[in-house]
Each structure stands twice: as structure tokens, then as C-alpha cells.
């Protein structure tokens, strides 16, 4: 992901994208908001970097905060927001730049279950509505299946590679919570889980022996 967004050069091979580098956005595991800027200033930041004038940027920031259910929270500093709210601000910050490809590195790992389910639902809806491609890295198999069209299994590091491609046959538009009860969900879960267990067991045989 760091190679795709250009934070570091690839160790081997090349990165090929059919979108411009400026059309790629990334959401990190940590929300990484500027603690000394209010929520709306944080969201407006990327827009200002892209030469939008400040008043317009702030207006758009307010719109995005509202779309993520945070109207009225614009003047709060990150310290005075909950973990889920900070995550939403970080999302607004990235989506405001209208990316065509969104990279997400375990973005919801630090949230508790209910907050997480709700934010995932909102993200799925926004992403479908805005027609954004998403590359999501996750350890959560249910999250992977309910959100994705394709799942690629990454082998045990340090020289991890893609081992298999599992298409997800659940149709869109899709509700991530509803997807869990789709008839295709359970068989796919079992299949990937088996391969995943094999993969994990492969790397840590000693641990498995316990």
C-alpha cells in the first residue's frame, strides 16, 4: 500500500495504476489527524493543498462531515472526539479529495464492534455511491467477504505473496450486514478459512502444536 500511494518505492516489480497518483487516497490504521486543527480544518486541509480557496474548502469540509454524520462537530479538536468520530473525520478528509482508488489499511481495527459495524455500513454505501475502487487490507475475514468483490489471500511473511483470488459472488448494491446472511457467504468463509488456517499453520508450526 505504501508503494501504491508512493510513500516508498517497490522493493521488486512495478506499480501500475489506471488512475492518476493524485486520484489515490489512503486511510491508515491510525486516524493521524492534526491534533491542533479542528475537524473541519483537518478535512479542508487536502482541498487547500489542491489549490481550492479556503472558504470553498471549508464549505466542502462541512458537507463531507455532514455526509459522514458529523454535522455540528466541525469546530471540535480531535482530542474532543471519540475514536469512531475521529475515524469519520479521517474518512471525510480522504473522500473530500474525490479519490478514484481508496487504500485502506485495517482502518477499523481499533474500533469497538458496534461503532465499527455502523462505520463500515456508511463507508460501503459512500463507496458504492461515489463509485470508488477500494483496496482493503484486513485480518477480519467476515469484513473481507461482506465488503469485497475479490479477496486475495496473502501468504505468511516476510516474503509474502498473493496465493489465491477468491471472487465474492454476492451482488451489488450490497448491505455489508445483510451480506453475512447471503447463501454464498458461509461456503466462501469456510473455504478461505481453511486455506487461511493452513497458511498460518505453515508459518507457525510450533504454535499450532500447543
Amino acid at each position: 500500500m505504501r508503494a501504491v500511494i508512493g510513500l516508498q518505492p517497490p522493493i521488486a516489480g512495478t506499480v501500475e495504476l489506471d488512475v492518476a497518483p493524485a486520484e489515490v487516497g489512503i486511510l491508515f490504521q491510525d486516524d493521524a489527524l492534526l491534533p491542533w486543527r479542528t475537524a473541519r480544518d483537518n478535512v479542508a486541509l487536502g482541498l487547500v493543498f489542491h489549490r481550492l480557496d479556503r472558504a470553498q474548502a471549508l464549505a466542502q469540509a462541512d458537507e463531507w462531515l455532514a455526509r459522514l454524520g458529523l454535522s455540528g462537530f466541525g469546530n471540535r479538536f480531535p482530542r474532543h472526539l471519540s475514536g469512531g468520530q475521529r475515524k469519520r473525520v479521517a474518512l471525510a478528509q480522504v473522500l473530500a479529495l474525490r479519490p478514484k482508488l481508496l487504500l485502506m489499511d485495517e482502518p477499523f481495527a481499533s474500533l469497538d464492534a458496534i461503532v465499527r459495524a455502523r462505520i463500515i455500513q456508511d463507508v460501503a454505501e459512500l463507496v458504492e455511491h461515489e463509485r470508488i475502487s477500494v483496496l482493503l487490507v484486513t485480518h477480519d475475514l467476515e469484513e473481507a467477504i461482506s465488503l469485497s468483490d475479490h479477496i486475495y489471500l496473502l501468504s505468511q511473511g516476510p516474503r509474502a505473496r498473493l496465493t489465491r483470488d477468491y471472487p465474492v459472488p454476492i451482488p451489488r448494491p450490497r448491505d455489508p450486514m445483510g451480506a453475512r446472511t447471503h447463501p454464498a457467504f458461509a461456503p466462501l468463509f469456510d473455504e478461505i478459512w481453511k486455506d487461511l488456517s493452513l497458511e498460518v499453520g505453515h508459518g507457525t508450526r510450533a504454535e499450532a502444536a500447543e
Binding site: 510513500l7 489512503i26 493521524a32 491542533w36 486543527r37 480531535p78
Partner: protein
Amino acid sequence: MTTPAARWVWLRQLAAFVVVLAVWEVAGRAGLLNPLYVPAPSQIGAALAESFSDGRIWPHLEATFTAALGGLALGIAVGIVLGVIAALVPVVAELVEPVMTLLNAIPRVILAPLFVIWLGIGLASKVALSFILVAVLIFFTVFSGIRQVDRKLVERIITLGGDRWALVRHVYLPSVAAWILSNLKVAVGFAFTGACVGEFVAATRGLGYLLSFAQSTYNSALMFAIIFLILAVVLLIFAAAGQLEKYLLRWN
């Protein structure tokens, strides 16, 4: 959280101060203290009041203030600029850091005589001494502060499309602001040290000059008066610095 006990701390401190003053005064009047060395508080107060009432003190106060605040402002500005550039441009760091380390290692007041030769006995040599004391302190505050900046914030700004200037403005400066502010009190102390020491060495005006004049005439009441005056002035500036810190770090 202020407990009732903590709320009255300042009152207890004030009470202790008054008691010490009273004991001091009584001891002085009882002849237990030689007024040549330790004059009683009332004598010090009289000396202070006299220097204000005949207006003699004003040019001295003005000279020291100008030198200290001038050196402070210049020192902070240059310290920040050099610190930021050195932290971001390795070639500059290679050149500047050893010089700063050297200047940091020596007691910088030993430069005072040199500044007098270079800049004369006027204001400039005092400003220079204050400046060098403050600038080195602020340089290291900024230089090491930027190196400890949260990498995640840096990457966030880069991936949002921010350039180098955006990093300085939105990440580096706000990050080191807290460090600079926490060192501001030390810097104020340094600035007045520079001004007063400069005036000891060679001057025609200033509180430092007045102190060394009082010393040469064995006027310990005046010496104490000036020491307390400098104390009061610095406390006043500390209070202002505290307010500034509160405002700039309101996000915390």
C-alpha cells in the same frame, strides 16, 4: 482537579513569605543583621521607592528591557528558522550543528567582552549577548523537536498532497510550538541574564550597570532593590508567557 487543599497553596505560600519578611525586618531592627550586608526589608523598600520617585530608575529599566526583549525576539526568530532549516536540510545541519554544540557547551556569557569590542558599550552588545544565549537554546529545541515529530502526521500530509512548506506549517511548527513554549520561561531568564551580564561588563545604563554601581559604593539596599525589581519583571513576563501558552495549546 483542584482539591480544597491545593486551592489554598498560593495563600500558604504568601503567608510564609510575609512571615519571612517580618522575621527579617524584626531581626534587622533588633540589630541582629549588619545593614551593610543585609539591610532590612523596609530599607530595601525605601531604596526601591526612592529610585522610582526621583525617576532615576527609568532609563536603566528601559535599557535592560530593550536589550533583553530585543535579544529574546531575535534569538527566538533566528533559533526557529535555523532549527527548521537544519532539521530539514542535512547539509545545513552538518555545518550548523557542530557550531551550535560548541556554543552550547561553553558558558556563552564569556563572549560578553568580545561583543563589547565588536559592538561598543551601547545597546547592541547587550542585545547580542541576550540573542546568543536565547538562539542556541531555541535552535536545539526546534532541531531536536522536529526530529521527534510523529511520522504518521508527516505521511498523512504527504498523502493529502501537501508539499514541504505544508509540512513545516502544519506539522513541524505546531509540533515544536509546545516545546518552544515550555522553554520560553528559560529563554526569558536567559535574555535577562544576557542583558544584565552585558551591562556588568561595560555600560552606561541598565539594571546590570546600576547593580555594579551599587556594588562599588557598598549600597546593598539598592542591590537588593534591583534584584527584587528584576524578579518582579521576570515574573510578570512569565505570567504573560503562561497566557500565550494556554492560547496556543488550546487544542490540548
